[in-house]
């Protein structure tokens, strides 16, 4: 089995940031905030966050904040809950949460909760359990969970539970590993994991591991490195991760590395990107791969960052 070429991944992540004019960067321009979260968290897990200029990142993040309190995906783009969480997470990585007006950000999140407990992504009203997770995670990091209606939020998530124990986007929506991560994560943060049938969901999740060792996101689909995060973190939160073969999954992720130029792809020999590089590295961290900082399965931030938020006075 190959090894993790961490140095090359670090170089790859830093190089992507410099290639602003590539087609890839232009297409993804509107979600640069997510990109920053993926790249910087991956760097932190590999112990290389100090290669980045903190002030530059922080001032760029703050230039994406709107009057409403929400953050856009990049300068000039509209605020959306997706980018608001990424902004807060990146600030947490740098221990710079003190630069935001916590109540202003919280007010934005609170304004997006609907009567049924669900959350909209922005003022245009798209509802999705992804946004429930984002809202809960975000206000929890800001120590403001009490500002949203947690009981209703949990109730809405449970209304999206399916016969296979998994969760969909909205009530009746099909189970999908990404969506399951969001719902399990939200229930973990709100202390509600007892509402999950862990054995049922655990079986569905562990059957995501296919012959190659990789994980898919739904039955009869292809494996993809990003599910190393969505499936694994869910299995860890419900304490069923021993139901898959860790060795086989480690091998699959390592096989997806570009060992020459750095970066990780969705499947072996596909084109690499920052998204899959982050999910590959984060997955290896969850698999206790040596030399990587452990990552928290619910907050999707390094454990030391999370412990610092909750256990320092």
């Amino acid at each position: 089995m190959g090894e993790l070429v961490a140095d090359k991944h670090v170089r790859y992540i830093l190089s992507v940031e410099k290639k602003k004019d590539s087609f890839e960067s232009v297409v993804m321009e509107h979600l640069r905030m997510n990109g920053a979260y993926w790249g910087l968290t991956a760097l932190d897990i590999m112990g290389k966050l100090d290669t980045v200029d903190t002030n530059e990142v922080v001032s760029w993040i703050m230039s994406c904040q709107h009057e409403s309190g929400g953050f856009g995906g990049n300068v000039g783009h509209d605020p959306h809950i997706l980018y608001t969480l990424s902004a807060v997470q990146v600030l947490a990585l740098f221990n710079k949460l003190d630069v935001v007006d916590v109540d202003k950000v919280t007010n934005y999140i609170v304004s997006l909760q609907n009567e049924d407990g669900s959350f909209s992504g922005d003022i245009w009203g798209e509802v999705d359990t992804r946004f429930s997770y984002i809202a809960i995670c975000c206000v929890s990091i800001l120590h403001r969970l009490d500002r949203i209606n947690v009981e209703k939020a949990v109730k809405y998530i449970i209304s999206c539970k399916n016969m296979d124990g998994g969760f969909g986007c909205t009530p009746g929506g099909e189970s999908h590993a990404g969506q399951i991560f969001c719902c399990v994560g939200a229930l973990a943060i709100t202390g509600s994991l007892d509402l999950i049938d862990k054995d049922l969901l655990g079986w569905w999740l562990c059957e995501r591991q296919v012959k190659s060792g990789g994980l898919n996101g739904r039955p009869e689909k292809l494996p993809d490195v990003c599910y190393s995060w969505w499936v694994l973190s869910s299995l860890i939160m419900i304490d069923r991760v021993h139901w898959i073969s860790k060795e086989k999954l480690i091998k699959f992720i390592l096989d997806c590395q570009d060992t020459e130029k750095g970066g990780i792809s969705d499947r072996p020999d596909d084109a690499v990107d920052v998204f899959h590089t982050y999910f590959g590295v984060a997955g290896l961290s969850l698999l206790e791969y040596p030399g990587l900082k452990p990552i928290d399965p619910a907050y999707a931030l390094p454990v030391d960052v999370v412990d610092q938020i909750f256990f320092s006075k």
Binding site: V26, G125, I244, D269, D270
Partner: protein, 717 residues
């Protein structure tokens, strides 16, 4: 980037790509300028359309389109309104052709629809087209279900056909259109049938079928009021799929759901309690236990000041309090406060406890008191899915005081617990043979069809699929289901040996998931061991320290059984001393119900974190704990982190005051887990050797957190 091959670009490709990038970059910056300046001219709209056709993911551009529609609506006559919306629908279609997974595009379409445009025919044509192209596209399936939008004023003025178009699929949030939904539910069920008929390997269709069917069964729709008939047809349906290609997972989960639908009885039931019905509890005031015979029904408690009453239900319930559960006895003087035994401080729990404070009762020696408990005395006990507890049921037991309570003499401590094999003595018989686990409680009366349905399935799977993974697993599950339907004391009808064999075979057949089968195996094994006196007896021992003369405990020894998880706790509520050493336990979930436990040996297991010991926090009588030779401190990732009550899960506030008093010089970020667990325990004897975490620094920390400790790692403090 999904599914794009990794290959170096040719030079000409590179120049094409960079020209494309430049063009897109220009479009985006022009668009952002228009957006910022609120320009909604035709040119500006065309530019945003071009941008979205090239990059449907640019969410700000979809927002801009909505703003533009709102802006232009206010200035249009009724004819141009329609064309305004048509333009948007056309744009969405073009964008979806570029990327039919675009969240922004799908939502824009829903938004346009919410304004009352498009028609059902048009939308269905579009949907069918997209679903043909990608039968698993969950955006399309969700759109089909159309879980959209709060019902706003605009829609109330819509013509009826338009209204129909909103609800052409079921939508569980709108009860007021039940009649409409009723028709479309059945239509949609047919649609899943058609899709599955074309190709059974469509998990999305099976999922949708389960959702629609649940709904139809729930409201007993016409043709769906007989659950048995519906389920029988479904069994046949999914059997066809599984038998066609046993490796295809599409039908697997649906089948498990059907078993669950067949077996599950909605209403909560009391499955076990301590004290059990008809038992006698003897109180022994000073710390010495004199046992002459062993009974699993009756218990002797020594040196205790509180008496727990434990109620164990078949599912989590809420609403256990002094009005729903009446406790009648001459010795009771105060209202009782019931406590849910949940590890995350939830108000619903499967197990509930109340503590009788013996000190307040003025009990007289050699007198017998009777206590009567009525569960469901008044309505209010509800399961988490809304079912109410049925008819009231009763438990009566007797309490008798053998010797008076005396305070332990200062300086006289219990002896060190050694757990050596030589200190255990086999028990050859029970004093009485009236212990029957849980059978004195309600057994759900199931109609015959459940058993027949399961029986028929068993025959099918035994005959045809007993050689492959899903066949074996399904068979094991069906046999388990069948056992759960027959009365618990009827051992002849049990299939545990056969089920254990199937799981053992599965471990070999499918090594990737071997620990899943091992966990299931452990549960069945424990069920087998704890199901009767005969099966429990070989595991019951007297524990007698060599230096003691007349003190002995009964210890349940479940050591060396290769157990990877705990189960059947409802049958073990009487246990005061438990040896689970030399197993492969990763968690002790459920142990919180064993309220009488005072000595516990968990040495030589696979416990990987302090949070895994979370269930011990509710065991107020626990004195002796051996967790030596586990994996505490060996793992960077904690799989119990969110299953244990903590500030991370907002289930409790960190006790900073206590932390600072007890161990202020230590770092909370490093020691919070251990503090959380041990701070609430009253241990006198702890063994933690053989764990990576147990260095000198940790030892000095733990002594501070546990002021009651007399022995640490087999040494007197």
């Amino acid at each position: 980037m999904h599914g794009r091959p990794r290959k170096p670009l040719k030079e000409e490709d590179e120049s094409v790509l960079s020209a494309k990038a430049e063009k897109l970059r220009l479009l985006q910056s022009q668009f952002l300028a228009n957006h910022q300046n609120r320009i909604y001219s035709k040119e500006a709209l065309d530019l945003s359309a071009k941008l979205l056709e090239n990059n449907p993911e640019c969410y700000t551009a979809w927002n801009y389109r909505k703003l533009a529609v709102q802006h232009n609506l206010s200035q249009s006559d009724s004819d141009s309104v329609a064309s305004l919306f048509d333009q948007e629908l056309k744009l969405v279609e073009n964008a979806l052709r570029k990327n039919f997974k675009s969240y922004g595009a799908w939502h824009h379409r829903k938004w346009v629809l919410s304004k009352g445009h498009s028609s059902i025919d048009h939308e269905m044509r579009l949907l069918n087209g997209f679903q043909k192209a990608d039968p698993r596209n969950f955006h399309a399936w969700n759109y089909r279900r159309l879980n959209i939008l709060p019902f706003d004023k605009e829609k109330k003025n819509l013509p009826f056909e338009r209204l129909v178009s909103f609800f052409f699929c079921f939508d569980i949030t709108f009860r007021f259109v039940t009649d409409l939904m009723k028709r479309s539910d059945e239509d949609e069920l047919k649609y899943t049938e058609e899709v599955i008929g074309e190709n059974f390997s469509n998990y999305s269709a099976w999922h949708n079928r389960s959702a629609i069917l649940s709904n139809l069964l729930k409201r007993k729709a016409e043709g769906f009021s007989h659950k048995e008939k519906v389920l029988q047809e479904e069994y046949e349906h999914v059997r066809n799929a599984i038998f066609t290609d046993p490796d295809d997972q599409s039908g697997w989960f649906y089948h498990l759901w059907l078993i669950d639908q067949t077996v599950k009885n909605g209403a909560p039931l009391l499955v076990s309690s301590w004290p059990s019905r008809g038992s006698t509890i003897t109180l022994n005031g000073h710390g010495n236990n004199r046992l002459h015979g062993l009974s699993l029904l009756n218990s002797t408690l020594s040196g205790t000041t509180t008496l727990p009453i434990i109620l164990y239900f078949n599912q989590a319930v809420e609403g256990i309090n002094s009005s729903t559960v009446a406790v009648k006895s001459e010795i009771l003087k105060e209202d009782l406060v019931w406590k849910p035994l949940s590890v995350n401080n939830s108000s619903t729990a499967q197990v509930w406890v109340v503590y009788l404070k013996l000190g307040n009762m003025e009990l007289q020696l050699s007198k017998t008191y009777s206590i009567e408990i009525t569960i469901g005395y008044s309505a209010g006990i509800v399961s988490s899915n809304g079912y109410h507890y049925g008819d009231p049921s009763q438990i009566a037991f007797e309490l008798c005081v053998q010797t008076a309570h005396t305070e332990p003499v200062e300086g006289q401590y219990p002896k060190l617990t050694s757990w050596k094999d030589s200190d255990f003595q086999k028990i050859d018989h029970f004093e009485e043979s009236n212990f029957v686990t849980s059978t004195d409680h309600h057994i759900p009366t199931t109609s015959n069809w459940c058993r027949e349905a399961i029986d028929e399935e068993i025959t099918n799977y035994q005959d045809l699929l007993s050689d492959c993974k899903i066949g074996k697993l399904t068979l094991a599950r069906l046999l388990t289901a069948l056992d759960s339907l027959s009365p618990e004391h009827d051992k002849r009808k049990k299939h545990t040996d056969e089920i254990l064999k199937l799981y053992t075979e599965l471990m070999k057949l499918d090594p990737t998931h071997s620990l899943y089968y091992k966990d299931e195996h452990s549960l069945v094994l424990l069920q087998q061991i704890t199901s009767s006196e005969e099966s429990l007896l070989p595991h019951c021992h007297y524990y007698k320290d060599a230096t003691e003369t007349n003190t002995s405990y009964v210890c349940l020894r479940l050591q060396n059984l290769s157990l990877s998880r705990m189960g059947s706790i409802k049958n073990l509520l009487w246990v005061q001393m438990l040896d689970l050493s030399h197993n492969e336990l990763r968690s002790i979930e459920g142990l919180e119900a064993m309220q009488l436990l005072s000595c516990l040996n968990l040495s030589h297991n696979k416990l990987g974190s302090f949070t895994a010991l979370g269930p011990l926090r509710s065991l107020k009588s626990l004195k002796v704990l051996n967790i030596s030779h586990n994996e505490l401190g060996s793992h960077s990732i904690d799989t119990r982190r969110y299953l244990c009550s903590s500030p991370l899960a907002h289930t409790e506030v960190f006790a900073w005051d206590r932390f600072e008093i007890l161990c202020g010089s230590y770092s909370a970020t490093k020691f919070w887990e251990a503090f959380l667990i041990f701070e609430s325990l009253n241990l006198t004897d702890l063994n933690i050797t053989g764990n990576a975490v147990a260095d000198e620094n940790f030892t000095s920390f733990i002594v501070k957190v546990l002021p009651t400790l007399k022995y640490l790692n087999d040494e007197e403090l």
